[in-house]
């Protein structure tokens, strides 16, 4: 079964969704991501959805779930790169995803996480380390 890869960038995790996700794949991502957050003690999660052509209520709900779950695990989630047409459609559909942080692109999302998450003992081992 295929999975969506999760990259670790220091204290943060980066997920780039590039495929037209079926529902099970979205649920697998939710499982993988939460266990990964707790495994590495990540402080932030970036989900890049700039290649997604649609976000329907299921994917929207999965994103909202991931955000809530990671918050419980003390990591902040930022959804980045939502396309204008996707955003307009989501609003029309009735989903405004109130609990989710957003940013225009990965760069700005990363900047937000760096400024808003306290990385304990920053400088010792976190910066730049990949796994």
């Amino acid at each position: 079964m295929d999975r969506i890869p999760i990259l670790r960038m220091g204290p943060f995790l980066l997920v780039t969704i590039q495929v037209d996700m079926h529902d099970k794949l979205a649920l697998t991502l939710q499982d993988d991501l939460t266990s990964r957050i707790s495994d590495v003690g990540a402080r932030g999660v970036l989900i890049d959805i700039s290649s997604l052509e649609i976000v329907d209520s299921f994917i929207g709900r999965t994103l909202a779930n991931i955000a809530s779950m990671s918050r419980v695990l003390d990591a902040e989630t930022v959804v980045v790169g939502m396309q204008p047409a996707v955003a307009i459609t989501l609003v029309e559909l009735g989903m405004s995803l109130p609990g989710i942080r957003t940013a225009l692109n990965v760069e700005l999302g990363m900047e937000y996480l760096r400024q808003n998450t306290i990385v304990e003992g920053s400088g010792d081992g976190w910066d730049g380390s990949e796994d």
């Binding site: 959804v79 980045v80 790169g81 939502m82 396309q83 204008p84 955003a87 307009i88 989501l90 609003v91 029309e92 405004s96 995803l97 957003t102 940013a103 225009l104 692109n105 700005l108 999302g109």
Partner: protein, 292 residues
């Protein structure tokens, strides 16, 4: 049972020639279209009519066998509308076939009053309905032209301007209907992505009134921008509009509003960690005349 289609079929060339002759007399717009084109269109049309073999179908233009003919007529009307023909000139194309058919019917059934009358009625109806279809299509063609022009105007009326690196503004001027608001909002969201702007200022100083629908579109846009990771600031709300908004019960509490565009700009600068400061007036006498 009518024999009209069969009659046309067996006299195809004569009918076509008479029709073209009639048209030449009736339409004097050679400046817009040449004879060869008209003749080609008439030939195609007539051949399409006689290709229908079931005589009973002539009474019912809604049938599928007439679809190609109606489409042909529609295309013709639309192109006539674009070329600058009047509706009556356009309808004459079909209408000038009528006397030809009447003549044909008289030659065939002239001595049988009952059939003569029946066939005349059928031909009359048939041509009239084709002519009406022509006029409908003509108007639809005009509507398309108008629609396209409206779209072009809409695009012209939505200038998204970059105020600073990462800050765009959309100064709206004129009455907003819901179609225009939609186009405006789409271009704003696209500009946000294109210019990588975290802040978007929607200035409605130039908007005389806002109704519920427009306010909802504004709100939806602001929510959509938020989903994309940008923040919208609404500025230039006139006192009357502020009253309307409250009376209509529209909730703008989640929206950042500022009185003037300048205030909104200042807020956007502050939020992106920038500041406007007055420089020391002791700077070398900067030629004021040039600066103005």
């Amino acid at each position: 049972m009518s024999q009209l289609l069969e009659a046309i079929r067996s006299n195809r060339d004569a009918v076509l020639n008479e029709w073209l002759k009639n048209m030449r007399e009736g339409i004097s717009r050679r400046d817009l279209i040449d004879d060869a084109e008209v003749s080609e269109q008439a030939t195609r049309m007539l051949d399409a009519i006689i290709a229908v073999t079931d005589e009973s179908r002539i009474a019912n233009l809604a049938g599928s066998e007439w679809q190609p003919i109606k489409e042909m007529l529609a295309d013709l009307s639309v192109s006539r509308a674009v070329q600058g023909f009047t509706p009556s000139e356009t309808a004459l194309f079909v209408l000038s076939l009528k006397p030809v058919l009447f003549q044909l019917i008289r030659e065939r059934w002239g001595n049988k009053a009952g059939e003569l009358f029946a066939e005349i009625t059928i031909a009359d109806n048939f041509i009239d309905r084709l002519a009406l279809h022509t006029t409908d299509s003509y108007i639809a063609g005009r509507d398309q032209v108008i629609g396209r022009q409206q779209e072009e105007m809409l695009e012209l009326s939505t200038p998204v301007v970059t105020l600073w690196d990462g800050i765009v503004a959309l100064p709206l001027i004129g009455t907003l209907d819901s179609a225009r608001t939609q186009v405006v909002m789409e271009s704003l969201l696209q500009a946000i992505v294109r210019t990588n702007s975290r802040f978007a200022i929607i200035d409605i100083t130039g908007v005389p009134t806002v109704d519920t629908l427009v306010a909802q579109h504004l709100l939806k846009t602001i929510t959509a921008a938020k989903l994309m990771g940008a923040e919208c600031i609404l500025s230039g709300i006139r006192p009357q509009i502020a009253q309307t908004i409250v009376h209509l019960g529209i909730n703008l509490e989640e929206v950042v509003t500022k009185a003037k565009l300048a205030d909104a700009f200042r807020l956007a600068l502050e939020r992106s960690n920038r500041r406007v400061t007055r420089t020391n007036s002791a700077t070398p006498a900067a030629a004021p005349a040039q600066e103005r």
